[in-house]
Symmetry: C2
């Protein structure tokens, strides 16, 4: 988003205008600094509004992120069950939680978002989500030997991103038509290997 | 490429113009019909030139494909060693052959091609390459139980595409900075599992 907004002093005139300005600034800050280092307060300041208004419109920071990248669900609906799952079941839990979202009625919105992110400068947003949300949520639980958690999670991410690419962007057949449960079960042992197996170079 | 070219009767005036017209028609036909079902003759006919001229300029169909998608090597340099490798070593051979190309001086050209393909309608070309070249070359060798080879190879493709995405498009760190040998060795057992292991739904 390189569109520059004319700064207007005082209270913004229209609600829709204010929401858009918050989202634009959120996208810019999330992409530049990542989710972890971006605060609601800094977004509110950049948009020229009060933090309370941002919370009022969008809820938590995760919900604002989802709104900024047009993801039509609260990421906590996925992150919650991830936190609950035992470590040695994460290999199956992760794809079983994430892949069905792409086959749901939300899939079209995801796909449109992914395409536009890939085409433009939104790669920073996907990177932030993978590095800050997934790496922090999962990586800290599989950090054995210490320091390896982030790398383990990024191997998992590479397989999950690849499934999405093969299935929804490249539309390889018959891969794209396989039941999502079959995909999840097929990649599960490999994801588990990345999460808790012995990996070259990590010792 | 939806640009329509004015048809000119008779022999084309300039060599560079003829090459471009062949490449444009090759891209269109490869994307529409796949590599397997596209002949040099049909490309030559669409471009209004003799097949011999296409061979003269571009060599084999694989080389023409590589030129059409701006891949600066002959795919046979990769496909040859793939054919030589024993089946139970393919899990390591495939990433060891393919991933270093992305880290070589050709990497920038690959990346530019991938970005433009993802942004535009060139997805059909990547799909053709994966479905026709890789699936035929490798899939026929791991087709156990019969009919499973194509699916096995597409799981492999999903992991390889994901590595490329995570490393060169999303630039996840530290993943993007790991030695390519470490990536190849880490994903090798998983690729081998896809190629020759027991997979759910394939029996």
């Amino acid at each position: 988003m390189s569109t520059s907004h004319r700064k207007r002093p005082g209270r913004p005139s229209g609600t829709s205008d204010t929401r858009d300005r918050i989202l634009t600034n959120a996208r810019e800050l999330f992409a530049r600094n990542g989710i972890g280092k971006t605060s609601i307060r800094s977004i509110a300041a950049a948009a020229g509004v009060d933090s309370a208004l941002v919370h009022h419109y969008f809820g938590t920071k995760e919900q604002l992120f989802a709104a900024a990248v047009h993801i039509p669900i609260d990421p906590m609906l996925v992150i919650g069950p991830m936190r609950e799952a035992p470590i040695d079941e994460l290999g199956l839990t992760l794809p079983s939680l994430l892949l069905p979202l792409w086959d749901s009625e939300m899939g079209a919105a995801f796909l449109a978002t992914l395409r536009s992110l890939l085409a433009g400068d939104g790669v920073g947003l996907i990177r932030s989500f993978l590095q800050d949300v997934i790496a922090v949520e999962i990586g800290s639980r599989v950090d054995e030997p210490p320091g390896s958690g982030r790398i383990r999670v990024q191997f998992v991410a590479s397989q999950l991103v690849g499934v999405v690419m093969a299935r929804y962007i490249l539309e390889l057949e018959p891969f794209a038509s396989l039941p999502v449960e079959q995909i999840a079960q097929t990649i599960a042992p490999n994801l588990q290997h990345y999460l808790t197996g012995e990996l070259p170079g990590l010792s």
